[in-house]
Amino acid sequence: MKILMFTWEFPPLISGGLGMACYGMVKALLALGIKIDLVLPTKEAVYFPLRQESDVDTLPAVFMDASVHRKYLNMSFSSLHERLEYIGISGRPESYIQLDEIRDYLKEVKKETWQSVTTVKEEQELFADMTTHLIGDEDLIKKVQEYTLRAERFARELDYNLIHAHDWLTYPSGMLAKKISGKPLVVHIHATEFDRAGGPGDERVHKIEHSGMMYADKVIAVSKYTAQMIMSRYRIDTAKIKIVHNAFTLSEDIVLTKKRIFKGPTVLFLGRLTLQKGPDYYLEVAEKVIQAHPEARFIMAGTGDMSRKLLRRSASLKLKNKFLFTGFLNRNQVEDILRASDIYMLPSVSEPFGISPLEAMAFGLTSIISKQSGVSEVVNHAFKIDFWDVDLMAETINHLIEQPEECRRIGIEGMQEVNAIRWHEAAEKIRLVYSATLSEFIKRNP
């Protein structure tokens, strides 16, 4: 089985949980013998033909232009980093395409789909929805346009049985690939616009999400929580939705032993500082806990659109030097901060899954996660509290600070529990989704 996979994040091109999830999933799928051609928002027109597990780390690349590829093969790179730099994976792709060009192209897409005799009305509408909403001047929208432009070539020239697209940024590409190749499409929902925005969000994104899910043959949701969301908010046929929980596998060379920074109990928030993750609730909890336990330290790790607001608010609450901001942390620093902490808290307002709590639990941190998160469906040894219940969260932390033995015990139980959650099982479920999709497809197109 060979998959054409579109995703926006993959290590080292990563900004959040999506990249981590894709990494674990792809690696496990490769172990099952599934071949994957991976398309990322790289600067150069390349794809990554992944054939064995180790390929997820080395990322072998093929340039679409044969002459460029020959040149690339003759290059020698001193490190993986340098090679990826050459491909343009270490940074976000620059937008070098003029908007006019996009408009013309989208007109072409419309023409092709609208004039095609085989196209049914519903399909026309979905494409119209996708193309009319993929318009805007924002950097991100431009990058998605550019990515979508490029998808056509991959769709035509590569050989695959099925298309798998992760989150709305790659849905237009997935749709286009299906349109061009006639191959079935699986879309994966890691987060919807409702989750990310912590509110209604961007209308254009909703439309693109909706078109993608409607046009897909199957929709994979990362939790029951998300499945419910796409049924109720996007009205997607329940028969199409499959739930595959994310998993978590620690890399083998990781060091888990505690390395404290503070002598006092240390509480950690690790995630983007954006409405979705509930960092403002964390701040409120911190204020309450610090009153009872001035020896406690609260770390807020990450960056995001709420950074400034949170910083100023922490100052106005007079949290002294007990509430600290790390700014952006790289992988090693994330591990260091996990090793330095005792309690992990993620009060997400809406979290489709949430890999970060699993990682924290793997480090033995006692975790408090919001009931509004998919990850709470797969773990038992963590506190599950409504994101808005600041009092209960504060009481829980106070209790854990006052009972350090109990805190440690729950942390260890959580660690054992998380160690049993493997990507292998998740990949097995995805493989079943693939084969079911393919057999239905073959039945329909004998």
């Binding site: 404290r260 920074i261 503070f262 002598k263 330290r297 770390i299 790790a301 950074s307 400034r308 910083l311 100023r312 922490s314 100052a315 106005s316 007079k318 949290l319 002294k320 030097n321 007990k322 600290l324 901001f325 790390t326 700014g327 620093q333 260091d336 901060i337 330095a340």
Partner: protein, 398 residues
Amino acid sequence: MLNIVFYFQVHQPYRLRHINVLDIGKKANLFDDALNGQVMRKVAQKCYLPTNKLLLSLIKKHAGRFKIAYSITGTAIEQFKLYSPETLDSFKALADTGCVEFLGETYYHSLAFLYDTNEFLDQVAMHRELMKNEFGYFTETFRNTELIYQDKLSDLVFEIEGFKTIITEGVERILQWRTPLYAYKNYSKDINLLLKYYQLSDDIAFRFSDRDWPEYPLTVGKFVNWIDHLTLAEKKNRNQFLNLFMDYETFGEHQWAESGIFDFMQHFPDEVLKRGHLGFATPKETFALSNYQQEALSFPEPVSWADEQRDLSAWLENDMQHNAIETLYELLEKVKTKGDPQLLEIARKLSTSDHFYYMCTKYFQDGDVHKYFSPYDSPDQAYIYYINALADLEERLS
């Protein structure tokens, strides 16, 4: 007679490293030695050494008729020793002329007066000791950090043996119809007060090289004529004092050598001393020169020489500044109780007012000045590094 009273502020803070949470507890150096050394050497080359040389030659040339005053912070003296010992030597040469007055202030250029009276008195005593040791000078005039002044400061300073004069900003909301050209008394008439004449001070310090300023270029002749005009209003032969107070870094650093600032200073005393009714005095000499009943002025609220507002808002306005400084003084108490001299030194270096100035979020023109002086990208970054430094200090304590 109108006496020009020059006072120059010489100060360099210990700037903090970009301290991350992950650096805490590693007992790493909190201060950016490389940057501090670089700044000190640069400012020494551009300002301290050439200006000291120029002023020394002017003092010698005018044989006692040209006089100036300095206030040099402890953190500046320490960093001279570390990064530019020849600068310290050149100040000593100036001290030896007898035409230079050294003012007293807080050793760490701190805002301790507003938060911790004992710490304030300690830092003033440390500074007086330093001036005695380095220059053999006993300070008699007091200058609080950034010319911050209010009535209760005069009470405190009066209690310290030997201080007779305090200098501060000539704030209009206090002076109202009065002129800063006379020496005043503090509200209880115990202390002599000198007020900065900010229009003419700022003509040199801020506007000298501003090509959009209608008076550009500022020539010595023009400037001394303006000064001369000030004497016309005085009909009773009272001695006037034109207090030109500014950062020493004005010379060669804020106003580059190319602007002609050094030429201006070179010819300024000649032009002044050509006129018999103009001369120079140091702040402490004004005490004896005040040949009239001095009016008492009350400053119920603190004033300073910073920004348009001339209040505390450059250091103590937003929540970050308040949380940072309150946490510092709380921690300083704990450090003193613990009695570790190394930690106390760190805490005191963190009391330098510049740290709070970097956290200032005022916009418009003043914001630009703040940005010019800040080694960090934003007030938020400055705050983060500072709070991390305080968290680190607290870990070292326990």
